[in-house]
Structures are given as C-alpha cells and as structure tokens.
Amino acid sequence: MTKLTGSKPLVLVLEDEAIIALNLQDDLQDAGHEVAGPFATCSAALEWLQTATPDLAILDATLKDGPCREIALELSRCDVPFLIYSGHQQDRQLLAEFDHITWIEKPVPSAVLVQECQQLLVGCD
C-alpha cells in the first residue's frame, strides 16, 4: 500500500455539490487531514484509486454519474475504511449492501464529521 502522505491522514472525498465539497475539504484540512479530490464523479475517483490508496474516504451516496457502489466495493477490497455522507434516506435502500457502514445524514456540523473520521482511523490501527 502506498500512501501519498507522511504523517497527515489522506482522506478521499466524493461529493458532487461543489460548495459542500469545498467546505468539506477546508474542514478536513483545518482538522489536519490531507484531501484527495473532491471528486464529483465515481469514474474520476476510480481512476485516482488506480494510482493511490487513501487512509479513509467520505462518499456522497449518489454522484453525478450514479450511486457510489463501485467505489465502496473497491474501498472494501483495499480495506480502506469509509463513511457515507448523504442527505437522502432513500439512498440507504439504494445501497442496502453497505448498511453496516457508518451513515451520516447531511447536513451535520463539520466537527461531527471530523470526529467520525477520527474514529474510523483509530478503528483501523
């Protein structure tokens, strides 16, 4: 596994609403994380995953090119912890196979999201 960073954890962000994505990026950086993305499409994120592996990922349930299923499967395969950050209850049915994954319903304060990220990172140490 090649990590792009030294000490800072690398967080992959998939989010197709630009303002939400940029704010998420800033919040994560403020909390001492490195951010990969934000990617607005699954295909762009998949391409990135060919060359790098993050420590953690935050996925919007539905991206511009569809549900984040493929990314979630790829991350599971690489043992990368991730959480799904979605505004839509219906997405849970859409991605029923990932029901055991942490779901966070949009919007939440950035502190909550950062804390969830920390827990996932600690969990995999």
């Binding site: 609403e17 630009a18 303002i19 607005a40 505004g87 839509h88 949009k106 919007p107």
Partner: protein, 384 residues
Amino acid sequence: MLNDEFLPPWKESDRLAALRGYRVLDTPPEPEFDALVQLAARICQAPIALISLIDDHRQWFKAEVGLGMRETALDCSICLTMMLRPGVAVAPNLTEDPRFSTNPLVTGEPHLRFYAGAVLRTPDGLPLGALCVLDRVSRGLTADQAFTLETLAHQVTALLELRRAIAERDERLEASHQIEQRQALLVRELHHRVKNTLATVQGLVGATGRSTGSFDEFYLSFSNRISSLAKTHNLLTEDYWQTATLREIILNELKPFAESQQPRFRLIGPPIELSADLAVPVGMAVHELTTNAVRYGALSAPGGHVEVRWSVGETEGIRKLHLEWKEHGGPPVSEPQHQGFGTTLLQRVLPMQCNAEVEVKYERDGFLFRMNAPLMKQRLVPTY
C-alpha cells in the same frame, strides 16, 4: 349500410361510438350474459338465442346458444334490420320475407326460418343490436314469450350499463393511482432538493466564515448570498425541470444600478433558459461578481460600467454557454492579495459544479471573467 326503410333519428357514428363506449366488443364470454340467452332460448322454446351487437362491418355475439359462432358479416345479420323497429320484431318465415330470403344463413346452413328479436337500446335511445331467438322451422311467438324476450333485452342493456360503469370507475381509480404515484415522486424529489439546499447553505456558512473577519461582516455577506440564492429560486419555473432566463438572473443582481443617469451596465445576448443546475451556480457567480465590482471594481467609481455578453455555441456536438463579464472605467485593477469566497466560487465551484471552463483576469483597465459551460444535452424525465 343500414336499411333505408326508416331514416333513423341518430347518426351511425354516434351509435358506433356509444357501442364502443361499453368496451364489450371482443371480450370473453361472461356467465351473466350466457344465462340470459339460455333463458331466452328456453322461454321461447327456440334452439338458437343470441345477444347480437352491430359493429361497423360485422355483428358480434356477446353470448349465444345453438349457433356456434361469435360473429358474422353484416350481410348475414337479421338483427341489423330488425333492431330499427321498436319493441319485439318477429319474422315468422324468413324464406318468404323479401328482406331475408337471400340471407346466407337462410339459404344455407343452418337454414334459419324463424326470427324474433328485442332491440337493445341505450338510455339515449341508440340501438346497439338485439337479443334474439331463431328457429329452423317457421313459427310464431306467444304474447308471454314476446314480453319475456323484451324484459330480458332490458336486462342485457342494464348489464352493459353496469359493466361500463365499472370499467369507467376502474379507469378513474387507475388515473388517481398514477396521480398519487406522481405526487409521491415529487415529494421525494422535494425532500432531495431541500436537503441539498440545507447542505449548500451549511457550506456557504463555512465558506463565508473563512473569508470574513468580523461577525457583522459575516452576517452581511452571508445574508446577501442567501438572498441572492432565494432570488434565483424565485425565477425558476414551476415545472419539474425548473428553468430561469439568464437575462433575469443577471438583472436580479444588477437591477439596483438600472436607475442611474449614466448606464452602469449593458447586457448583450440572446434569450436563453438555464435549467436549475446551471441557473443556481450562475446566479451565485453573478452575485459574487457584482459584490466585487461594487467593492473594488467598476461599480465602485461613478464613471464605471459592466458589460455582460453571452452566446450559445456548439463544439463537438456539445452546446455551450459562453458568458463574459468585463468591467470598464473603474479604478486601476491589480491582483488581490487575499482570495475571498467570491473568487473561490468563480474559480473552483463553477468548474466543479457545472463542468465549466473559467478564466479570471485582473486586466489593468478592468476585471474580466469568462466562462464556458456545457448546457444539458438531454434530460431524464421520470415516468409517471
């Protein structure tokens, strides 16, 4: 086609429309109708009984005993002629009746000799066909038999009416079911959009907070942004796809400068409708551009003005909106030291949200912003 002995008081097209309205032609046999022809045959002591409906080129039997056919051509139809008479029409000897002596069912199998039929009439008086009994020998009908045949014919019509009422009710139920589904879909869609809007507002809080120094400054910038967002939403049409005209989106922001003695802005471009996913970010961009022009650019000095030009072009099969915002006559321009949210929005949000190519130039004679954004090619309309 119909016998010209009488000139009927209705039009054949109306009669056919009424018949079709019952939605009975070519439906499978139903026991309720079968029982009525069996009863007619038994009471009239006839081997054959039919519920015959006269279509435009055939007679079709909703129920029959003793004939073994579901339909015949109209030249075989005795009911076609007889249904024009009121009450029960009787032909005691078909071979001697000039109207029917050449009928194929009389000259050939099954060698019909006797006919008695009671007209099936809609409540509006349109004849649909007849309930009839037939025999292979010449004979008559008693008064009781004629009365029963006519009463049974009324029962057939009543059944047809009931059938139609049920079919119409089912169609209405189906239509209201579809409306319910459509409503549920729209409510789900509304939930999506509200949640997205809330998350966007949260993003704006964060972004505005990062680029402002005091609470007062934050409050002013943030409420102006929300108000601009609300104004763009006001422009969106109320159909599912929600569009707004570009000119009005821009005017939302520049309108306060319309009253000026000297023209402060020029808008040059064709009428164009933007769908919500482009209208909202473009509205936000124009808000940031205007705010910056008022604070630092052409709208901060008395003689300055803004020129906004747009057009739609097609490159490699993709329709694109070209938009240019150029400021003139303001104070000399230099690259800002500090990047505020306005610039972030133009340079990062537009490319990400709208797949737009964006150019921001601090030209000395006036700030320049250019954008090329693809317009939606096709829309996925949910089926209701």
